[in-house]
């Protein structure tokens, strides 16, 4: 039995692409044989005492941090959460000895190129090293808004998104094995031409703005004079 703790690092909480990926990975595990837990970082930060959350994290064998890329890095509230966990972890001797939990990251970004998550993946590596836990690897996935809005119409196992599903399977295998199976970060994204992504993306923003009664022209406003 493996103890797996997922941490959602999106400011959008449960209505996020980060959560969609947590759900996708979670369902790969046999719930009879493994114990999973999900912590939402925004909710945890609001608690007066979130030590309970940190205790669950520290006592897991694996932590999977799932968060969005914000300006090539980690969203500020989630960074704050990571600082707090570091502080908590310093007090926990058990972790210093066995270097558990093992740390994984699923990072999702808006632009199509999954490799734009490379700096954030390294930051998570530095984080794990600094707090003395075992770093495993990151999966960086592009086109987050597209992935989330198309999750019903284009399932994750469809040809276009299969590479993401396969990355999740690698993660699962790595967690289930006691060996080190995957050494490197995986950067991936749905397979589509960049031109099509740009066209669809631009149209997506215009359509969403229209729901707020904002015309396309107004999206270009320059309020700062």
């Amino acid at each position: 039995m493996k103890k797996i703790c997922f941490v959602n690092g999106s400011p959008r909480g449960e209505k996020s692409c980060s959560q969609y990926y947590i759900d996708s990975v979670k369902q790969l595990f046999d719930i009879e044989k493994n114990r999973t837990h999900v912590i939402i970082s925004t909710a945890s930060l609001k608690k007066k005492n979130n030590f309970e959350d940190f205790k669950i994290m520290a006592e897991s064998e694996n932590i999977i941090f799932s968060f969005p890329l914000y300006i090539d890095s980690i969203p500020s509230h989630f960074l704050e959460f990571l600082y707090q966990f570091e502080k908590y972890n310093k007090v926990s001797e058990r972790n210093a000895i066995n270097k558990l939990p093992r740390i994984y990251a699923i990072i999702n970004n808006g632009f199509i190129e999954g490799h734009q998550n490379k700096n954030a993946a390294r930051i998570m590596y530095h984080y794990a090293s600094r707090i003395g836990l075992t770093w495993r690897f990151a999966i960086g996935i592009g086109a987050g808004e597209f992935m989330m809005t198309s999750k019903k119409n284009i399932p994750i196992q469809s040809k276009m998104k299969l590479c993401i599903h396969e990355a999740f399977l690698k993660l699962k295998k790595d967690i289930e094995s006691n060996e080190v199976l995957c050494e490197n970060n995986i950067f991936t994204n749905p397979k589509m031409p960049k031109k099509l992504f740009m066209f669809m993306g631009d149209r997506h923003w215009v359509q969403r703005a229209r729901k707020n009664k904002i015309r396309k022209k107004e999206l270009y406003n320059k309020p700062i004079k």
Partner: protein, 197 residues
């Protein structure tokens, strides 16, 4: 405004001395600048609602120092961020300010170096300058920090970032000197009128 200085002076003596020395340079030279010290200030974090793109284009739903900074940002020629470096990234307050910059760009996409990024909302953006401080930073963390700052600069519509790292007090003078050497390249001139007063 020529120079926008944003510091989070809440971590170590290197940051404190860097802020003091950079301000001395600016005061002495009569450079026009505005300084925001954001340590311990109330700053809302971006909640990812995209209102600044889709409801009130160009304006964040929060009204605090971070939105003031975002306004001043596009009116500046140079923006200098002074932060500690931890895990190869910025401090939490500086990260808050950076995340809250997205009203200044458009939701629409364009290609830069064959990668997709957002298009500019405004015609001009300041040079993106970062001074990263801290005694205990590994070489690898510095490499990450520089790579991160360059990526940030691209998202903030500049080709590259200017990054200075101060691991010890002795690095500060070199940083200040280099900043001054760059000012003319960035189109910043001494304000003789200010000098006279």
């Amino acid at each position: 405004m020529a120079i926008l200085l944003i510091s989070d002076n809440n971590h170590n003596s290197i940051i404190e001395k860097s802020v003091t020395k950079i301000k001395m340079l600016l005061d002495k030279g009569g450079y026009q600048y505005k300084h925001y010290e954001i340590a311990n200030k109330k700053l809302n974090h971006c909640i990812g609602c995209f209102s600044c793109w889709l409801k009130t284009p160009g304006i964040c739903i929060f009204n605090d120092i971070a939105s003031e900074i975002a306004k001043d940002y596009v009116k500046s020629d140079v923006a200098i961020f002074i932060s500690n470096i931890r895990y190869g990234t910025y401090s939490v307050p500086i990260r808050r300010v950076l995340d809250r910059q997205i009203p200044n760009i458009l939701p629409f996409f364009e290609k830069v170096n064959n990668e997709i990024h957002h298009s500019s909302r405004y015609n001009n953006y300041p040079e993106f300058v970062v001074v990263g401080c801290g005694e205990d930073i590994s070489d690898f963390e510095i490499e990450t920090f520089k790579s991160l700052a360059d990526a940030n600069a691209i998202n903030f519509k500049k080709e590259k970032a200017f990054v200075y790292v101060c691991r010890a007090v002795r690095d500060i003078d070199e940083t200040v000197q280099s900043l001054e050497n760059h000012f003319s390249q960035w189109g910043i001139t001494r304000n003789e009128k200010n000098l006279l007063c």
